[in-house]
């Protein structure tokens, strides 16, 4: 039973990683193109810095989400 729940836990993390990867590929990687379409032109370095900041933010959100999952799971289990 514990292993099944851990497998679900890992699957949840996997889905979060795939969602973050898809978001980065669809919205963050082509940022230069989007800016061009909206008539704005950022320097190569500026765009890369913005992309990096968004990617780091996503990783932080992932870590917070994982921490929340851990708190819920562990406290529920240890209180049984």
């Amino acid at each position: 039973m514990t292993l099944t729940i851990l497998a679900l836990f890992v699957t949840g993390i996997w889905v979060m990683i795939l969602a973050a990867a898809a978001f980065l590929v669809i919205f963050v990687a082509p940022l230069e193109t989007y800016l061009y379409l909206f008539g704005s032109h950022g320097g190569r370095l500026t765009i890369s810095a913005v992309q990096s900041a968004i990617a780091i933010l996503i990783v932080i959100v992932l870590a917070l989400g994982l921490n929340r999952l851990k708190v819920i799971y562990l406290h529920k289990k240890l209180q049984q």
Binding site: F9, V10, I13, I17, A29, K70, L74, K77
Partner: protein, 340 residues
Amino acid sequence: MLDSVNLVIYGAAVSAISFFGVLFMTPAAIRSLTAKRKVVPDAHKPEKPQVPRPAGPVIMISIAAAEIVLFFLTMNIAVFAILLTTAIAFLVGYIDDSRMMPGWFKPVALLAAAIPLVVLDIYSVGEVHGESLNLIFGRAHIPLLYIPLIFVIIPITGNTINSIDVLNGVASGFLIIATIPLLASIAIFGSREVFLAALPILFATIAFYRYHKFPSRIFPGDSGTLLLGAMYGAVAIAGSSEIIGVIALLPAVMNSFLFLASVKRIVEHREVKARPTILTDDFKLAASNDSTAPATLVRLIVVDRPLGEREIGYQIFKLATFTALLAFASIAIQYIVVLR
């Protein structure tokens, strides 16, 4: 690029060197370490038998021999970068094996292991890893992110394998399972040379598992786990398989994350006073009820009922197999989305 015949010949050569190197040198290392009293107690067994440590030098010699042969056969700079990264991680671990270092030492010192990947890539103009990150659904060209990311990946993979080395055979058995999807990913999305450079992780670890499995006859030590973990990270980076590598490593990553999120600082496990598990009278591990004890993968596994050391190892291997399947599913998604 290597042709298929050379791929098979070189692959057989590096696999055989790393496998037989560890297989034949480890018994001598066990005798030598025991004679020099370089032993540690196996804490989860009755009477706490003394087990020799570390096996890192044997693993390093075998892997280095395979990588040096491969480098002279291919003259590929990525192979050389992987070898240097592995060697630096081994040295960091060997220092930690030899003298008690503080908790920050390993993650900070492992930053040095990432330097060859970055410097040799600049020297060879992108022959080691390039500047884009393989994100399964496509590649992201973010140079400002990718270089710092290399300095994050190597310490993480090194310490992750190090932190899962808690029970007999777990680190080596887990790494065998995690390396299989990584190799598949490198074969599909990476280069043939990096695929060949990654083979020694699998074959050296298979040979080492023979001596490390329950009941262990030798422990890898920090030198063994750090070199294997850092090498895993290096081949994932050089083989365009960073995310697949992380997915295959998820149970170990989760273990490190749970521990760090609990103690909220970088410390050695031995420095934490409240233990995550307790040893019962019949030598089984049970989850600690101490609310200040850190959360770890083993604590989660034994939270329902106490389990023996061997049984916990099998549970971790089952979870590792499941995440390896998730890694294969990710490879399939990438294959369909990007290559088709």
